[in-house]
Amino acid sequence: MINTVLVANRGEIACRILRACTEAGLESIAIYAHNDAGSMFTELATVAIPLEGETIAETYLNQEQILAIAASHGADAIHPGFGFLSERADFAKAVIDAGINWIGPSPKAIEMMGDKMTARMTMKAAGVPVIPGEEIESEDEAAMISAIVEASHRVGYPLLLKASSGGGGKGMRKVEEPTNLEEAIKGARREAIAAFGDGRVYVERLLTGSKHVEIQVLADKHGRTIHLGERECSVQRRHQKVFEESPCPVMTSDLRSRMGQAAVMAAKAVDYVGAGTVEFLLDSSGEFFFLEMNTRIQVEHPVTEMVTGVDLVREQLRIAAGEPMSCGNLMIRGHSIEVRLYAEDASNNFLPAIGPLAIFRPPVGPGIRLDTGVREGDMVTPNYDPMLAKLIVWAPSRPEALERMRRALDEFVVLGTTTNIRFLRELCDNSDVVSGNTDTMLIDRVWPNGWKPNYSQTSLDAALMVAAVSESAGLHRVQVHESESNDGIVSPFQTLNRRYP
């Protein structure tokens, strides 16, 4: 039994989970840092409790403070969402030790899968195929460099350096040739230390031209472990996914059952409980290799929900409460695509952008789902991840899903902060995206010198006229909030003329 769920997260995923709690008839507790006061997620909970402290370490990563709030407000379950503490085995253990339900797998499963090198070894032992590569034990920079240089001769180029504690593309470096190896190792190590406090880096062969295909798994405490089909997430920039779909366009029922079985094997190898994702690389010959397992709900989980009809977050709540999962046999219906809307400048190396959401007008209509944690009038700050929303469509077939996504992106208007909407819209027209011939290098291949918006002089002329009319008619002017003096942020608009398109 669970009555009250504390959601140890913020933004879009906190909204997703809090809404599921409301639908399940559960009480919920949101926790928020002072710079998140008034955010949408704080309004969706039964109660919202402020966190003390300034930095992320003092707030959303502060285990003691979160557990103290859980205890004093009677939470009997904690949902970590993704990011933050979601894959921290020590936190999962502390939650369980405090007598609170942990909505996720056991600390041991998190530990075995969270350390990428240990996960590789566990999967090899379980008979799940892994990418050719080598684990590197050294932690000292000089020893690590010499060990990786030596391993690189056996692994071959191009290769990929990965932080053992990595995720979200952090601490990852692609190396095309030996001359760049040393600098790349230093960079990956430095980024890994900064992001995870763990500088261990290992090396894998970079499998070019392969697809990123992941399998959603679900396991309850009654001995049932199932897979819910795949998601293809090949289209990535800076090793972060931007376009995700289910089913994978090249999937066959035979391949799905083999990959699904491997994923179930992987989950069983660590006695997995809850929702998890086993990521694979699928090469052009149909061979697949284990990449990693994410022991939490995934950003792109909605596409699976759309095609399978399973509410994954609701199942997480059920499983944590000790109930059997409610879903029956796997049925895949139609096609779903998700794009991630980021506050970033796609024409400038996808550099994160900040500013006010002066206008935020999402699309509506059949087959459209928007998962977001922001609304018009909010400020996009450099404090957190720049993902603004996930736009998800469902349609009976892949071509129709793409048509629907184009229509939805055309309707989506965001002004005041630079976003990647136009980039995503043009991505939907790319011939390889249309044909389903997507691989992890697609963005680099299609836009080797970076993407630039391609508008006509006629559109620019019209835009100038609109600016003049808006000025003359005294239209919509957005109040620019003065930044609080103590966080030292210069007004984002000082650099407007150089940094925005």
Binding site: A195, P352, L415, L460, V466, V478
Partner: protein
């Protein structure tokens, strides 16, 4: 009515005329709707909706799927284009400086690496030129808008 704007580094004068509900510019007509959108009708009779919002001095315009950031220049304001410096896109920390004062650099060359939002960002030269001054060194904290590197052509 005449307005002076700046777009992509260029000064542009736009003169519009008003005829009751309609604003005109050449063959184009525009109408402000009750919800603040603007309906633009071009000479061939096709109409499209535009959205606009002003943030600071900049008009953000959404038209035909594209976003245009058009800066309003107030008459007499000094738009001195001392814009040759590379500015920090957001608050962060300098990790590595790859160039020294007086060094010649090519367009696209890596000048320095900074960390912001836990990601590394590469600041590159926007054009060929010479580095006249590097204002920070590795380990320094920078604020958004800080001039990191100054360049001369």
């Amino acid at each position: 009515m005449q307005h002076e704007f700046k777009f992509a580094g260029e000064m542009i004068e736009v003169t519009i005329a008003r005829d009751s509900e309609n604003w005109m510019l050449g063959e184009n007509r525009a109408q402000v709707l009750a919800d603040g959108r603007i309906l633009v009708t071009s000479s061939d009779g096709t109409s499209k909706f535009a959205h606009s919002a002003k943030v600071g001095d900049v008009w953000w315009i959404h038209f035909d799927g594209h976003i245009f950031c058009i800066e309003k220049s107030e008459a007499g304001s000094s738009n001195n284009d001392s814009d040759e410096g590379m500015t920090a896109p957001m608050p962060g920390k300098i990790l590595e400086v790859k160039v020294a004062d007086g060094e010649s650099v090519e367009s696209g060359q890596l000048l320095l690496i900074m960390e912001a939002m836990k990601m590394e960002h590469r600041i590159v030269a926007p054009s060929d030129g010479m580095v006249s001054k590097v204002n920070f060194s590795a380990g320094d904290q920078v604020q958004q808008g800080d001039v990191l590197v100054e360049m001369v052509d």
